[in-house]
């Protein structure tokens, strides 16, 4: 069965072959750096291809005329839900457990490498 969905995927691939809409290796490196991810050379190529094909698909949003349309802030129309800025004391046990979930901790403190070098 020929599926229109699969045709669409095919069409996108074809489009990619015709248009060099692909992210460059450098761009992928930059994105990875912003995302705090390390990627190997091999993965870089794969990400280039996969991210480009997804971006190409979502690019169809630019086909839609959105002149004068307000972007959504909240889908149910909520606006600035406020509450008092109060401290709600937690049990010693909870606080201890929270600190203990950190991979490194000492004397009830979370431990990290220095922020400044």
């Amino acid at each position: 069965m020929k599926s229109r969905i699969l045709d669409r995927v095919g069409a996108i691939r074809g489009y990619l072959l015709l248009h060099i809409m692909e992210l460059t290796g450098k761009e992928v490196e930059h994105i990875a750096d912003l995302a705090r991810i390390e990627i190997s050379e091999k993965d870089k190529e794969k990400f280039q291809e996969q991210l480009s094909s997804i971006l190409d698909y979502v690019n169809k949003l630019n086909e839609v005329d959105t002149k004068g349309v307000e972007p959504i802030a909240h889908i149910t129309g909520l606006f600035n839900i406020m509450r008092e800025d109060e401290i709600k004391p937690q049990s010693e046990e909870t606080m201890k457990k929270l600190v203990e979930s950190a991979p490194e901790h000492e004397n009830n403190l979370v431990k990290t490498l220095g922020v400044f070098e």
Binding site: M1, K2, S3, R4, I5, L6, D7, R8, V9, I12, L23, V28, I31, A32, L34, A35, R36, I37, E38, I39, F47, Q50, L51, S53, I54, L55, Y57, V58, N59, K60, L61, N62, V64, T66, V69, E70, P71, I72, A73, H74, I75, T76, L78, I81, R83, T94, K97, L98, S101, A102, P103, E104, E106, V110, K111, T112, L113, G114, V115, E117
Partner: protein
């Protein structure tokens, strides 16, 4: 009939009339898990002691003549991205392999106070990112109807656990179809409440403007029981819907009692040629039955759902990249500084600059995240980082939020003409394990009929409507925001005639 095969209402009746005890019921579920789960792999961890202790307490209450609630003593399975105090919560990710929750999610608090018995945590795509449960760091779950097929996802473990009667009901989460699509593929009922109806507090966040917790069950009336127990405003989730601090009325529009007078919309854009012919046929048969039962079937036109999918695959990764920034190798979870299972690093050797593999703080972030996250998670974090990055924000993210506004208005317009919409849940039945694994875009397209409900904040339910090649087909019913009980009401009517 084995006890584990019963529905919530049947369990309740049996417990009240002392036909069996909650302990027997709970043990029947564990027996079924032990019998089947080596093959299906729906569960990531079991809570045997906790479950049996709770069951015995309920039995004691019944023995002493106490009155029990509908969920009291009834065993449930919980998706592994919902926190239960003292239990491991992995979200299907290696990065949370050893994480123990320090508090209960609001839905768990509510279930516990309703007396529920919690059997264990179910498998899922890592951080709920996927449509097949193959993205779990702990291996794929199999479809109980055919072990060579996927159960759908991301709540595939919960769907499979209900389908294989290893529990009476389950909780899942739905960001783009992650309850409805696996419910459809596994032949059970699954409900995504409208946005803000169920508190997200204690749900490990994926995409906060789209996530909702909801139930899986063997029938619609059970869905309703669980939904009633878990819904309601919560001060800990500012996006939960409050009306002057009071819980929303149960019925926004009257719950339909019969099909007569009901206007059911059938959006033609949701029946594209490419969908599996047999799925289309089963859904059309169900619609014909609704018509025969007195419903007015109206053809309607909506924006092509592929725009909804494009909005989804822009906004969701953007929110993912922000939400998953918290996994930094410092506060919780996997860290290159001290990987799980390795002996604690002695204080002397963990001085700055002496940790193997990480020279500085940035290295700790990068290496912990790279080693801790799976491929699909990394893919979505990167995609989200890109669409939010300087120079691209307007073209992708802002444009997506504008199209999202148009999609919301599109549904509003349609819900002025019809009461509910009926569509297939998924364009196909369950596919073979591995078939779409290496092709993210094709995998994403399997969410095409479900994402729009998340994008527009609507309520949606999937119920079984027959089989194709021995695999279940799902029917989706969508209703307007806050019309949750209406959607469940129509689903119950459909269930009777299909």
């Amino acid at each position: 009939m084995e006890l584990n095969q019963l529905t919530i209402k049947e369990c309740h009746k049996g417990l009240v009339s002392k036909d069996f005890s909650s302990e027997e019921l709970t043990k029947a579920c564990f027996k079924e898990i032990k019998k089947q789960d080596k093959k299906i792999r729906a569960f990531l961890s079991l809570n045997e002691d906790g479950a049996l202790t709770q069951a015995k307490e309920v039995d004691k209450k019944i023995k002493n003549g106490g009155k029990i609630g509908i969920l009291e003593g009834v065993p449930a399975a919980i998706k592994d991205n919902i926190l239960i105090k003292g239990l491991n919560c992995t979200a299907g990710s290696k990065i949370l392999e050893n994480y123990i929750a320090t508090y209960d999610a609001t839905v768990i608090k509510k279930l516990k106070s309703a007396g529920a018995v919690i059997l264990g945590k179910t498998n899922m795509d890592e951080f709920a990112m996927g449509s097949s449960t193959e993205n779990s760091a702990y291996g794929a779950t199999k479809n109980p109807h055919n072990l060579k097929k996927v159960p759908g996802g991301s709540s595939g473990g919960s769907a499979a656990a209900v389908a294989a009667t290893m529990c009476v009901y389950a909780l899942g989460s739905d960001t783009g179809g992650s309850i409805r699509q696996p419910a459809s593929l596994c032949g059970v009922c699954g409900f995504k409440p409208s946005y803000g109806t169920v508190s997200r507090y204690g749900l490990i966040a994926m995409a906060s403007s789209l996530d909702q917790i909801g139930p899986f069950a063997k029938n619609v009336s059970d869905l309703k029981c669980v939904f009633e127990a878990i819904s309601g405003a919560d001060e800990k989730d500012a996006t939960s819907i409050q009306k002057r601090g009071v819980r929303l009325p149960k019925v926004e529009s009257p719950t339909p009692k019969s099909f007569k007078g009901l206007k059911i919309g059938v959006p033609k854009e949701y029946f594209i040629e490419g969908m599996e012919e047999s799925v289309k046929k089963k859904v059309e048969e169900a619609i014909a039955k609704m018509k025969k039962a007195g419903a007015e079937i109206i053809d309607v036109s909506l924006l092509d759902p592929s725009y909804g999918l494009a909005v989804y695959y822009t906004i969701m990764p953007a929110e993912v990249s922000a939400n998953l920034a918290r996994f930094d190798g410092i506060r919780y979870g996997y860290s290159v500084v001290q990987p799980p299972h390795s002996p604690p690093i002695p204080t002397e050797s963990s001085k700055q600059g002496e940790i193997e593999g990480a020279k500085n703080l940035l290295d700790v972030y990068k290496k912990s995240r790279t080693e801790g996250f799976g491929k699909e998670t990394i893919r979505r974090i990167m995609l989200g980082t890109y669409v939010l990055s300087a120079g691209y924000y307007d073209a992708y993210y802002k444009q997506a939020q504008k199209v999202r506004a148009l999609i919301r208005d599109d549904f509003r317009r349609v819900f002025e003409k019809v009461n509910y919409l009926v569509t297939p849940t998924s364009p196909s039945v369950a596919w073979a394990l591995g078939a779409k694994f290496e092709d993210p875009l094709t995998m994403y397209l399997s969410d095409i009929y479900t994402v729009t409900a998340n994008v527009a904040g609507l309520a949606g339910v999937s119920i079984p409507c027959g089989e194709s090649r021995g695999l279940p087909v799902g029917l989706q019913i969508m209703g307007n925001q806050h019309d949750d009980y209406g959607v469940l009401g129509v689903a119950e009517l459909c269930e009777k005639i299909i």
